[in-house]
Symmetry: C2
Subunit: 121 residues, 2 copies
């Protein structure tokens, strides 16, 4: 029974786009992740996708039927929830540190074949 310090958890690994599970909330995993560069375009048909910026900046590009939607720009202390089914691509020009919340077992890429293994730390 200890508080979870997100920055401390983020200090113990360096790999980008490799979410680490730090806690859980009902049937969801709470994760931290370091990101840099462009992730792949993907969507989650059955779940919203929660992003919170712990450090740095990032943006979430979104599109609907290949038509670009307005990009959401996130700085430290800001959050955005991508609505379920909306195709999106997280991008960070420089390394950023995020907290993510996703249902347990949901593939981070939207596809089990390419999904990262979410190790608990």
């Amino acid at each position: 029974m200890n508080a979870i310090n997100l920055e401390q958890k983020l200090e113990v690994f360096s790999k980008h786009w490799s979410p680490k599970v730090v806690s859980s909330y009902n049937e969801n995993e709470i994760m931290v992740v370091k990101v840099q560069g462009e992730f792949n375009w993907h969507s989650h048909p059955d779940s919203d996708d929660f992003f919170f910026v712990v450090k740095g900046k990032m943006r979430i590009e979104m599109r609907d039927d290949k038509k670009m939607l307005p990009t959401v720009y996130l700085s430290e202390g800001e959050l955005y929830v991508v609505p379920k089914g909306v195709e999106h691509r997280p991008v960070a020009d420089e390394e950023a540190h995020l907290m993510l919340i996703e249902p347990k077992g949901m593939p981070n890429t939207g596809d089990e074949k390419t999904a990262a293994i979410k190790e608990k730390i």
Copy 2:
């Protein structure tokens, strides 16, 4: 489609223990709240209870069948999830700013009769 800045949301109200809804994630509400002093002892039989400290410090006292469990102390950038069914009391000696996540419609006091109305801001 804009990022949600938690500190900006916290600037627009001052009342303590009055959660404001800033976004949603699946069937959950994402809220910010200002706290100071002792909240009431309560539990949520059907849901975990997510706390993240945006600013300041607080603690979560917990008990099981009236027997005190170890208290969890939280500082800025730290989170804790109270497991469902565990009786708990959030306490802040000085004002602290939190992000909370709870299922939509769940009473924050564990009791509909005493629950705060969760206004969207």
